[in-house]
Symmetry: C2
Subunit: 434 residues, 2 copies
């Protein structure tokens, strides 16, 4: 019986601020980073589990320390026993009474649990010889609900209701897997839309997005209204009047400001308005959704856990749910979120970009299509064409669609030279800059 012998962490950072990739109204100069974890067992022939939490630079050391603090919960444990009950292990970490005080269920400690839980799923999928989405898609409805913690959800979604949703989607699983392998899943691109790009670059990148076959783009807004109007006009000129163009304010506004600002952009017919205000403000999101209707609200990349998603759904505060792969506590909590979205009939369009998020979230959308919602209608996965070269199983988009990953695992594994070259602060990429 193999046992876990190590939980190793890596502070990996990419100097993306030099290029203004990723600049938006709230995040002018991100250095995309990963607080990265590798789980190893005493069977040296067995695969390793890889996972990470995504951050944008400073504080990645704190995030890495939080992951390291979970070492005693795993090292020495029986690998088979842990992997056989990942629902139980999730509860053990998330409800550890002392760690819980540091959240509860939010922020640095929750993201640390995310990294470790995702690394365990990576390991489980590698051992099963399946990409994560297929591993999840072959679990029974009962096995899937056992992975979910329904605490604090039962006023919106019970275990029985979740079972019903999953059972209803059992029929047709095999055909949908074939469809995914043949045609992939729709993507949209944020590449044209960063605030740091000039108008000529915006125009060129909009055209490139069309040429590449994307069916939707997204522009950052919220720093300056006149700029937003000018940039949206350019995008509309290039893309045409009916092409889906979403806008993203990255939490820049208060409630009334959001309603006024979006009203001023209404002539450009935004496909959705993303993160109009604080991700903590479910009441504010509801007021904004009502105030800007019929323009839809999207949010989720900073939503801390399933409990906040539950309320956004209960209050009709969002029309597109943008789950994130490393902010909530990993695969298990994202299954809960997919089930909540299905219950309320809201499409899930995951947040991606950064580093490694595209690699991870495609598994959730594909699992959702096969085994939860059963549809791709009105659903897209975000794509940003950055940093994929650092991954062993990179996200691939062809003709505007994510290709279904087929390598075993959760696609979190970075190339070994990336872990050493981009190590902060002592790797060669950084040591010359300090």
């Amino acid at each position: 019986m193999p046992h876990f012998v190590s939980l190793d962490t890596y502070d990996v950072r990419f100097p993306t601020s030099l290029e203004l990739d990723g600049s938006d109204a709230m995040n002018p100069d991100p250095d995309y980073s990963a607080a990265y974890v590798v789980l190893r067992s005493d069977n040296s022939d067995a695969p390793e589990g890889h996972g990470f939490a995504f951050t944008i630079g400073r504080g990645n050391d704190v995030q890495t320390a939080a992951i390291a603090a979970l070492r005693p919960y795993l090292v020495g444990r029986d690998v088979d026993a842990v992997l056989a009950d990942l629902g139980g292990f999730w509860r053990e970490l998330v409800h550890d009474s002392q760690l819980r005080w540091l959240g509860p269920e939010k922020g640095v400690m929750h993201m640390a649990i995310s990294a470790v839980v995702n690394a365990l799923w990576d390991l489980k999928a590698k051992r099963a010889g399946l990409p994560l989405w297929q591993l999840l898609a072959q679990l029974s409805p009962e096995e899937l609900v056992d992975l979910v913690d329904f605490r604090y959800l039962t006023d919106a979604l019970t275990r029985d209701e979740a079972l019903e949703i999953l059972r209803a989607a059992e029929k047709g699983r095999a055909e949908r897997i074939e469809t995914l392998l043949a045609t992939g899943y729709p993507a949209y691109t944020t590449t044209p839309g960063w605030l740091g790009y000039d108008d000529a670059k915006l125009r060129r990148l909009c055209q490139e997005a069309l040429d590449a076959g994307f069916g939707q783009i997204k522009l950052k807004v919220g720093a300056d209204l006149a700029d937003d109007i000018r940039r949206l006009r350019i995008a509309r000129e290039v893309c045409g009047p009916d092409f889906p163009i979403a806008v993203d304010a990255n939490q820049r506004w208060d409630v009334s400001e959001a309603i006024e600002w979006v009203s001023a952009l209404a002539e450009f017919n935004p496909w959705w308005v993303e993160e109009p205000t604080s991700p903590d403000d479910v009441v504010g999101h509801a007021a904004i959704a009502k105030g800007i209707a019929p323009i839809p609200v999207a949010t989720g990349e900073h939503v801390q856990n399933r409990i906040v998603f539950k309320q956004l759904l209960q209050l009709d505060a969002l029309s597109y749910l943008q789950l994130d792969a490393t902010r909530v506590a990993g695969v298990n909590e994202n299954i809960a979120i997919l089930l909540l979205a299905a219950k309320f009939g809201v499409p899930v369009c995951p947040h991606a970009g950064g580093v490694g998020l595209c690699e991870l979230v495609r598994h959730f959308s594909m699992f959702d299509y096969v085994a939860v919602s059963g549809t791709m209608d009105n659903r897209v996965i975000e794509f940003a064409d950055h940093l994929h070269e650092h991954f062993v199983d990179p996200a691939v988009v062809r003709d505007g669609r994510y290709v279904a990953p087929v390598l075993p695992g959760f696609s979190a594994t970075m190339r070994p030279e990336t872990l050493s070259d981009y190590a902060y602060p002592d790797g060669p990429i950084w040591s010359g800059r300090q």
Copy 2:
């Protein structure tokens, strides 16, 4: 001009789990801990600024690392300039785009900012020769609102409305300071109510609370309904039918469970029901408040920031607001919370206990009395008689009332021997136990 030369951190833990002090339905075995910080300048004669974030054990190292990550934001800065604009410094830390990704405004990183902000206020009050509550109470309404960040609040409280509240309370400040110095502020005690105590100890401690002059007690509930009924019956026998007895579920329930459980306790006439469910669930709190009315809901010790408090108030989801000194981002954010509570006419009854929280929160209630709400009606500060001996300016309760602190500062300073004796894991208290 003095400059900050160091930000030193200390991982300080007390082995309270050995005594079952502090045991409740969610936290069976806390080791009360402080991620402690000391700010020093190059003027060695000048006072130091002390602050801390409270945790309950495991993870205090992560919390300490998060505080240390703020070192570059302070060391080298001009002390006078930082202290002259603590509103600006607060915004600089809280809205740092890269650190913000780790929250935003919640969990480990927000608590780290709390510790540093509170240490700066401790230093400012020491330099002014005043206890913090008096320093705040002599600021003008304009100076006070400059300390507050109204971002995400303006749909509930604008700067002008806050000014109006503060101006209305200007008259009578001097008399209220005299009243506080003469008679203190009402306290209630949680000492009898921990779940780990047997019935005889509960009965004895209830009687001792009465004898000590407390006007309210609180019992932990939520682990076992039959136990709760038995324990409340004992408390009622000792305290009489009309004595205020609050109950505290420490987030144990889902929404419908909370309503059912509290209904089963209604015959004991709970003064309030504290933390019935997840602190993130403002919609759930509103449903519970409606479902158990007229029994009031209290919450706040785990509420992550002013934005969540705003929503609880907007939804009529709480009747008593229990701010915490070290979970939100320090003095500045607690001023915002006091103003929100005043706007909605909800009394603030701070969370205390743990280690050092009694020492800190008395300053907020006293400032509130002098300069914000202007009243002590229906207001009490929690008191638990643990670990005060470790502080240079300990909380003192006499005849059931907090004595107003008079020493300069924010009362956060621990005795030097505590910092060394309880250092984790190498201090003498711990090194023998590992």
